[in-house]
Point group: none
Chain length 283, copies 2
Amino acid sequence: MTEPRPDPARQTHLGMRPGELDGKWYAKYWNPVMAPLPEHIKEALSLGPQAPPLCLGLDDARALDEAAYQELENGYSLFDDGSMHVATLTYMPGVSPEMVDWWFWWHATETQRYKLWYPRAHLYAERPGGAGEQSAPYRERYVDGTSFVDEYVGNVPGRLAIRFVRPRSLGFDEGRLDPLKATAVCARVGFSDVPLDWGHLVHYVRRVDGGAEMRSRFWMGGCHVAPRGGASPTGELERVAEGVRNLGDAQARAMVVHCAQEMNHLAVFLPELFDEFPRSGSQ
Amino acid sequence: MTEPRPDPARQTHLGMRPGELDGKWYAKYWNPVMAPLPEHIKEALSLGPQAPPLCLGLDDARALDEAAYQELENGYSLFDDGSMHVATLTYMPGVSPEMVDWWFWWHATETQRYKLWYPRAHLYAERPGGAGEQSAPYRERYVDGTSFVDEYVGNVPGRLAIRFVRPRSLGFDEGRLDPLKATAVCARVGFSDVPLDWGHLVHYVRRVDGGAEMRSRFWMGGCHVAPRGGASPTGELERVAEGVRNLGDAQARAMVVHCAQEMNHLAVFLPELFDEFPRSGSQ
């Protein structure tokens, strides 16, 4: 079976051109001025790479479900195998875990929606199979699906396939992920042009006073690089793999900035967008 | 015709030695304690390299003449051809565009004056042909001239030839550059020891409430590297060119810091220096 691919003829551009938001009920949520980086993110960037044992391992991701903070909630580390770990904490006033699940479903079918999230970096979004079952709970509408997204991380463009997986596949007890209290957006990160995965991500979201907090974690490169869906190794695949096996300081810092910027920006408009959605008369 | 070169026997040193300011009417403006980096510059450094399409292209430099801010007013990007773009915004209380034109003329003939600007980085200044026509408007006194300057950018010393060009050569409508309202300091940046240019700069200055704002832009390396004045390629020239064709994160960050530091420091003393100049009895 051939895996789905994004539209090969897509033309992308950064920003929003005149007319692209015409008739979109959510047009007013487009704001190219990003929310500032929180102080705790600037501090983490100043600190540079941290000692690897401070990082949460992928196999222990479910520990995000515990009440306490981990030793590394903000920052990054670089590992001997060439992999990197990135962690960012985002306070989201007025946001609920359910809204985040809704967002991961709603945004993915349309480039303009995706661009709301990160006007200075997001280029393109497509979801094979469309919006999915719209009577299901929000999480069920995106889990097991793939988002094809083109975006810049730092100054480097990427064409990615984000395959959302069940939280339990990373060890979470889904019985504890009542979206009124918590959710965990979990995904395998790969390229969309070639069947190669190169990372994992978790956005664990829980209610706190006045809103929610999102604790984001990325494990990328090194041992996390693998062909997807039984793809056989080719020279092309190996060449792409070589490019993401050894990640360094620049990639890790760009990822900290990227995640912090997009999630803080999302937090600004998500409550109002989510509130307006049922009254919009469309998806 | 041989192009002018700076004094090959020059001895340079950082800082001011006893006696070097004796008899200089402007001695009191020497202050080795730099003004602090503005928050918006620290934020830009934290963000790291931005998506290339956010940058103003050299061919569109005249857009600085429009009322609105550009998408990237502070920060930098790195391009596939090895070039970099740097942008910084400096608020200059009490400064007028005319004072900036005056500064670019006045400082360049004497190392001590040049050092006022950036005590921690500037080493040497010389202008072939001297101070020029002193009854002309300030801009006319430096345009079409070359400043030879030795300076550090970050930890790296450079020996530069800054050739000031007419704003219209970069597309500006000079009719709109009334120095009481706005000016654009435009230059080709090259090396002084070898006939090689490797960048362009614009400092676009306009009046704002309480003073002026300077919007600085640099396009360096990559496609901006070229022999100067019909110089024929030699092994030496090619070796130097190779060193500036591929610029990276370190060079771009150092340039953001350099420009922000010198322009913020200049803003501290320029209004008073300019005001005192006509009463100084010398140039």
